[in-house]
């Protein structure tokens, strides 16, 4: 149905789709967890916040798991190189991810203030460390990562954990954290009322403006101070996955080449700056109607998609450039699985994604309501 070249391109889009799916669904839960200490002042308010995502966080988290597994299946070399190269960063993410499932389920099982505030802290850490690390990791991808392959394709990473943190990657880390917080705040505005909703809106407005500024700033740095990569030899787009046989050069401003070549693509980063501002404006409206609240959530989702897509487009066709051996950089053309695997996995995705989205929507619809303090007090032994 599709040739190998088309499959490779489709999978670049699908991996992007899965990561955006993760950021828009589970990123929302992470934003909610990150906002928890700031929008909830007493125990019952914390429970209101947690119960807005209580029924959905686990399903949402599967976006992360599926994105990881799809990376394994579709881009095995990226999975192998990134996960082993960023070893301590990955371990840090993993250990903080342990905290969320336990915090959601265990927190309200015991009526002790100390027990509950400790779990709230755990939820905060588990919600904020992963997006921070992911943002820093994305920044590192843009900068290039020091790795290379031997003749049997065994990868060696020559960087260190602390080398991951540069002014630019810290900035991308902030962008990522702001995305989640903004998104979480629009969700809380939509699903809570009274003080919690008001505090969420206030914080959300600030975070959204910070997001627009930091994202624009990161763009300036990509233009001025970060070297981009480009392939100067011919790429056999139909060819087998052999990432060590091409020639790559680097240069300042090269990451903007795709936008210059296809000016229409500028729309994507522009949306990435503009949509957070729309979110800030919508959150500022007093006595928001339901549709304003929904619009702010959608605008936030669109911001996230645009920002992630901007990074993808500027690096295209690179997915993981090597700073130490640029010729070993991983491209979406030469880091992929075989044609058979990509074709098979595409069919699986095509069949199951609509089903997943269908039942997920059904569950959201069934659970849809404004979570109030009264509701939590009435169901104090069954709610989270």
């Amino acid at each position: 149905m599709f040739d190998y070249e088309a499959l490779k391109f489709i999978w670049w889009g699908l991996i992007g789709f899965l990561f955006i799916g993760f950021a828009v669904t589970d990123g929302m839960d992470m934003g909610v967890g990150g906002l928890l200490p700031f929008v909830a002042k007493k125990d019952v308010e914390s429970r209101v916040v947690i119960n807005t995502v209580g029924a959905h966080w686990d399903g949402n988290q599967v976006w992360l798991i599926t994105a990881g597994a799809s990376l394994f299946a579709a881009w095995p070399l990226v999975y192998a190189t990134a996960f082993s190269g960023f070893y301590f960063a990955m371990m840090l993410t993993l250990f903080s991810l342990f905290l969320r499932p336990l915090a959601f389920d265990y927190r309200s099982k015991i009526e002790s203030e100390k027990w509950r505030t400790n779990w709230d802290k755990a939820l905060f850490v588990g919600s904020m460390v992963p997006p921070l690390v992911f943002g820093v990791a994305f920044g590192n991808l843009l900068q290039g990562v020091p790795f290379g392959f031997d003749s049997l394709m065994r990868v060696t990473y020559t960087g260190s954990f602390f080398a991951l943190f540069t002014p630019f990657t810290l900035l991308t880390g902030v962008v990522s954290v702001c995305m989640m917080l903004m998104h979480g705040s629009t969700w809380l505005v939509l699903r809570t009322d009274a003080d919690v909703a008001q505090r969420s809106a206030n914080i959300g407005r600030v975070v959204a403006v910070v997001l627009a500024i930091t994202f624009a700033l990161a763009g300036v740095m990509v233009w001025q101070s970060i070297d981009g990569y480009s392939v100067i030899s011919n790429i056999d787009k139909m060819g087998q996955a052999q990432p060590t046989i091409k020639e790559v050069s680097t240069g300042s401003g090269v990451w903007l080449a795709n936008f210059i070549q296809t000016p229409l693509l500028w729309l994507v980063p522009l949306l990435g700056i503009f949509m957070p501002l729309v979110v800030a404006m919508l959150l500022g409206i007093k006595n928001k109607s339901g549709s304003v609240k929904t619009a702010s959530l959608l605008a936030s989702a669109l911001s996230i998609a645009s920002i992630i897509l901007t990074a993808g487009i500027s690096m295209f066709p690179f997915v993981m450039p090597s700073s130490s051996q640029p010729n070993h950089s991983l491209l979406m053309w030469d880091t992929v699985s075989s044609e058979g695997t990509l074709g098979l996995m595409l069919m699986v995705v095509a069949v199951f994604t609509p089903i997943i989205i269908g039942y997920t929507f059904w569950c959201y619809k069934k659970m849809w309501r404004t979570v109030t303090i009264e509701e939590i007090e009435q169901n104090s032994h069954s709610a989270y």
């Binding site: 798991i65 996960f83 336990l102 389920d105 032994h381 069954s382």
Partner: protein
């Protein structure tokens, strides 16, 4: 050269994290169906006690599920972080079932688990029951895809090595799905999970019966556990036998190690009940044998041989030599000498490439291996026998004890005499750890028995690791042990607390601790 310490630490880390995760998975597999059974009775009869049963056992299920989810994340990360050469070498094949697991199963399970806990007031009875069913279905489908992936490691069908990309690539996905090893593993493993779920419900219900409280609740729970458990333990044992049969076909080495059979015996082989395996001498001392039994179990016949480890190793030697040739031509091909002749020579020998790679432990170039090094590689080509031999016997022993207990529980429950059989209730309570002992040792037999391979006859374990510093892995291993210990303590604390409270924890006003003012104040002071 291979860093043996790095390999050892990476293996320990994988074993620790996988075995720990596997403490929680089986209970999830079993309890989801038990919850579905209880809730079905509630929906059909409308009797509140069955809703309470569903909710209470669901509470305990939730405590277990949360930590299962958390520790499952590790498994998703760890192939990439610690086994990156493995991920590259087989990701084209092995990654697909994992990704399909996410899309087909894990989404289903995780989405409806939220409905199970928090959807009681927002869904109709039937909708909620359907959600519980989908949760159970998702959990079990999840196990299916994981075991298809694992089955491929044991018996790598449907794939071929590609010298250009330097990895295994998918040839036939249907062969991978219908891999006989994967099929029997799936049935054996999920049925073991059902046993764990049943034993869990039986043991805790026995505790309430012994304490004489919430009798009606405990007896009904007991009945579900006894019925489901008896069916499950029969499946495990019968299909464990199937599992042995497939091992005989595909993984003769593992079977020989399980049996500590160093010498090939004339058919039909005897089953070594117990003995002392000695890898140095390649003899089993003080063996107590049951005539004919092994031959019948493994080959389903009286005239087929079960090959011993000495003969298996003897057969590996020419394959290692052949693998050296494969490696020589692989190197030529990858250096650009892609002549038709080199290609033909490589294709003739590439099925033994994995055996050639066994030499990488002793010489990086493989082709220059000395006779002594080849001898060492031959010795490496089978796993140490004693750990596999003993783990298998512990698993089977635990299984047999459970079989007896389930039969007795079912029998006396059917005769409505269970309350008076306090010795049985006590035995059932004490037997709670048995399913976990059997499951963990079973995992060990399957995975340790596969050594020296990560992917049978394709990729040795020692080659599969990431190029990390020893200190990195040592650090993360210690971190896992510390953090997992803390998580385990928290989980057990909650589990024991809620199991002791029983259905009173639902606050319906109908159960033991809520009946009299003194008891109720005791409940409040428990602070839950």
């Amino acid at each position: 050269m291979i860093n043996e310490t790095l390999v050892e630490l990476s293996r320990w880390q994988f074993a620790v994290t996988a075995l720990f995760h596997f403490l929680f998975v089986p209970l999830t597999l079993g309890l989801t169906w038990i919850l579905f059974i209880m809730e079905s009775v509630y929906v059909m009869t409308g009797r509140e006690i069955y809703r309470d049963m569903t909710k209470f056992w669901g509470k305990l299920f939730g405590i277990n599920f949360a930590i299962g989810v958390a520790t499952g994340l590790t498994m998703e990360f760890e192939f990439g972080t610690n086994w990156s050469y493995y991920s590259h070498y087989v990701g084209d094949v092995f990654g697909a079932p994992l990704a399909i697991e996410g899309l087909m199963a894990f989404f289903l399970e995780s989405t409806f688990v939220g409905m199970f806990f928090l959807g009681w007031d927002r869904l109709s009875k039937r909708q909620h029951l359907m959600g519980t069913f989908l949760m159970a279905l998702g959990t079990n489908l999840s196990a299916l895809w994981i075991l298809i992936a694992n089955g491929w490691m044991q018996n790598p069908v449907g794939s071929e090595f590609n010298y250009m990309t330097m990895r295994m690539e998918l040839v036939s996905f249907s062969e991978i799905i219908f891999n006989p090893v994967a099929q029997v593993k799936f049935i054996h493993t999920v049925a073991a999970g059902y046993v764990a779920g049943s034993m869990f419900v039986l043991s805790i219900s026995s505790y309430y019966l012994l304490k004489g409280r919430d009798i009606a609740f405990a007896k009904r729970s007991f009945s579900v556990g006894a019925g489901f458990g008896l069916a499950a333990i029969f499946s495990v044992i019968l299909l464990g036998d199937e599992s042995g049969y497939e091992t005989g076909e595909v993984q003769k080495v593992k079977l020989a190690a399980i049996e500590a059979e160093y010498h090939t015996e004339p058919a039909p082989a005897a089953f070594t009940l117990i003995g002392l395996p000695d890898d140095e001498a390649m003899e089993t001392h003080y063996a107590v044998k049951i005539p004919y039994a092994l031959g019948i179990i493994a080959t389903r016949s009286l005239d087929e041989e079960v090959i011993g480890l000495r003969d298996l190793q003897k057969a590996h030697e020419p394959r290692i030599r052949n693998g050296m040739i494969a490696y020589e031509y692989l190197t030529k091909l990858r250096n650009g000498e892609e002549t038709p002749e080199n290609l033909a020579r490589f294709n003739e020998t590439k099925h033994d490439l994995g055996y050639g790679l066994l030499l990488k432990r002793y010489t990086d170039n493989v082709v220059d291996a000395t006779e002594a090094q080849i001898k060492l590689a031959v010795k490496d080509s089978t796993p140490p026998v004693a750990p596999v031999f003993w783990a298998f016997r512990i698993m089977v022993g635990a299984g047999v004890v459970m079989l007896i207990l389930f039969i007795l529980a079912f029998y006396f429950n059917a005769r409505r005499e269970i309350e008076s059989k306090r010795w049985l209730l006590k035995s059932l309570f004490v037997a709670l750890p048995l399913p976990w002992i059997a499951i963990e040792t079973g995992w060990f037999v399957a995975e340790f028995g596969r050594q020296p391979w990560a992917i049978s006859e394709v990729l040795p374990t020692f080659l599969s690791t990431s190029n990390l510093a020893v200190g990195d892995v040592l650090f993360s291993l210690i971190a896992f042990i510390v953090v997992y210990t803390i998580l385990f303590i928290i989980e057990m604390y909650l589990m024991i607390k809620f199991a002791r409270l029983g259905p009173s924890s639902l606050h319906t006003g109908r159960y033991h601790f809520e009946q009299t003012p003194e008891l109720a104040s005791g409940l409040r002071s428990q602070n839950y």
